[in-house]
Amino acid sequence: MAKEKTFFDKLKAWPLLLPVVALILVMAVNIIYDAANGNNPFSFFTITLQNTTANGTVLYGRIIDILNRGSEAAILAIGMTLVVSSSAGTDISVGSVMSLAASVCCVTLAGYGVSSTTELAHPLALGLLAGVAVGCLCGAFNGFLVAHLKIQPMVATLILFTAARSIGLLVCNDLIVYVRNPQFGFFGSFMGPIPTPIIITAICVAVTALVLSKTALGTYIQSVGINAKASRIAGLNSKTIIFMTYLLCGLFAGIAGIINGSRITSADSNNIGLYMELDAILAVALGGNSLGGGKFNLAGSIIGAYTIQAITTTLYALGVSSAQAPVYKAVIVIIIVAIQAPPVKAYFRKRSAAKAALAKEV
């Protein structure tokens, strides 16, 4: 009996509890749904090889689909986790920055004023670099406002939220710029049998995790988030740390933007990254991170991002249209944050304490 209790306690303290439980729940819904429809109950998990005319033999299956489509959210979630941790605020500009990065990248590749091309006007590397550089620039702008001018993160990033998408449109000369070129399309299609976005995400996650674990950066970010003033005294320059997290967030937004642009081989400024900032923030919250800053859990955010994608894919499979899906997302968000809310936690603690006291008396 006592042993079981400690296991439960351990489980309760496990930081990944929330995202993992959510993910398991989503999978369970899929299994039940498939079984109820007379399909193979585990068709959710099946991965098959399929021959395609466009890309040769590729992996196919719902899991692959979720991993593939969740890539942008997962990449954004890395940057968002760091921003939330260091500054106790969110960067709401990432979706717009994605759009701007894709626009700049596509315009560099197609040439200004061209609306559709199959030939590249500039080398591919230059286009990618331009996209990523614009992302970094936006991140630096946000970082400057938050770290140096001490402006509330949401307010500071509101500026680029409003402007970045429109600047992208201006760069594109108000057109949807199509770059129908396989070289550019590569980042949104397949590398061998595996979708390229999955590989890019894996690299981003691995590099970030390595840097955070091998250097003291992770600890710095957390300590800045826990107490900006105290860490300044301890010899850390909190401004530089906060600035850097925003820069990284912009960088990742740039990468995500290029992937998204490559997926549709175009820069559709009005639609790329629309509502992505919300998915990224949701991923961080779902990953068990406090939006109040401080300690962070990168793995949780990544799992959170894929959980959101799994929810979306499942909803589609259940026949919910993409326009109606937000209703369910909203309910899920509220449940998750309500569980984590201090007054609710305090209420449950009181109840379990009362129960324990009652048990003692008996």
Partner: protein
């Protein structure tokens, strides 16, 4: 110390008004010949933005408590869809408007409860609210709904009423005197503006909003019911948004899932440009009104010009936001210096 604070805030308001005047005068100088100097041009900005004035006033109230409400745009879409579908089903215009207002109250009460009593971050709560309202619009109908004279004659009539002003008219090319006119929506919006202005200035509720935004702890120590006041602020915001939605619908006479997309950001930027601090405690609906007018003037100038890319209004709005946010942060820094 207190004197400086007031000066700083009045200064912000003055900057906003001055900016509007300069901008409008610039428009008149450049496009006076193209009708920009007509009173009607100004009234048209009001007509188009009547809904936005209501929403931004509500948002100002929430922002005074250091909160935010990003659900307003989606709520407008949902309200319009309910209005259109309800009237299509044969329900009268007046009952439908009451239903929409009640829905606004309930929506605001839920959001307010989550923010006030469960202490969840306003941004997250209202983001969920935005998801919910936008998705619910699609659940009600994914079609583009239209409100025609056949569907509801009363609503149609309301939308087409022109309230003529006795001055500032002009003679048109047919030689007919055209009196400047405003719509019912403008009257509602101006009424809302005056009421909220008076409420903030002269009621206990209004003053406690400022107190909570200034410092939640000291407000609680003063014996204010912080939780309930916050909840009321969100209820007021959603209520005003629903009233705004009616004005909006009277202007567009249509409903669709994509309607009023990004309107929350127009409302927030209007409030910020109008001198409302996102950190709470400082702000005024008069400033917000001028914030809406500045945004409206920018797009009117761009539209009158006709050669500028349509993305300019939002880029210019963002540039103004940038300017105002930085000015605010300087005032905040100076104030902190004075304290320390």
């Amino acid at each position: 110390m207190k004197k400086l604070k007031i000066n700083g805030n009045t200064l912000l308001l003055l900057i906003t008004i001055a900016l509007f005047v300069v901008m409008y005068a610039g428009g008149m100088a450049a496009y006076g010949a193209k009708g920009f100097s007509r009173l009607q041009t100004f009234l048209d900005i009001l007509k188009t933005n009547a809904g936005l004035i209501c929403m931004a006033s509500g948002l100002t109230v929430v922002m005074l408590t250091a909160g935010i409400d990003i659900s307003v745009g989606a709520l407008v879409a949902m309200d319009c869809m309910i209005l259109a579908c309800g009237m299509e089903a044969g329900i009268g215009a007046v009952p439908m408007m009451i239903i929409v207002i009640v829905i606004g109250l309930i929506f605001g009460a839920v959001q307010g409860f989550l923010v006030g009593y469960l202490e969840i971050q306003p941004f997250i709560v209202t983001m969920a609210g935005m998801f919910f309202a936008r998705g619910m619009t699609a659940v009600i109908s994914t079609d583009q709904k239209s409100i025609t004279e056949q569907i509801n004659p009363l609503f149609y009539k309301l939308a087409n009423i022109k309230i003529k002003l006795p001055f500032g008219g002009y003679v048109n090319r047919k030689g007919v005197y055209m009196a400047p006119n405003i719509s019912v929506g403008v009257v509602i919006a101006l009424l809302v503006l005056v009421l909220i202005f008076l409420m903030l200035r002269y009621t206990k509720f209004g003053r406690s909003l400022y107190a909570i935004g200034g410092s939640e702890q000291s407000a609680a120590m003063m014996g204010l019911n912080v939780k309930f006041t916050k909840m009321k602020a969100y209820i007021l915001s959603s209520l005003l948004t629903s009233i705004g939605a009616i004005c909006f619908c009277l202007n567009t006479m249509a409903a669709s899932v994509q309607q009023a997309l990004g309107y929350e950001m127009d409302a927030i930027s209007s409030a910020v440009i109008g001198g409302t601090l996102l950190t709470g405690g400082v702000g005024n609906v008069i400033g917000t009104f001028f914030g809406v007018l500045i945004n409206g003037t920018i797009s009117a100038i761009v539209k009158t010009n006709g050669k500028l890319a349509s993305s300019w209004p939002s880029i210019l709005t963002a540039a103004l936001l940038f300017l105002f946010i930085v000015i605010q942060s300087i005032f905040a820094a100076i104030r902190e210096k004075q304290k320390g």
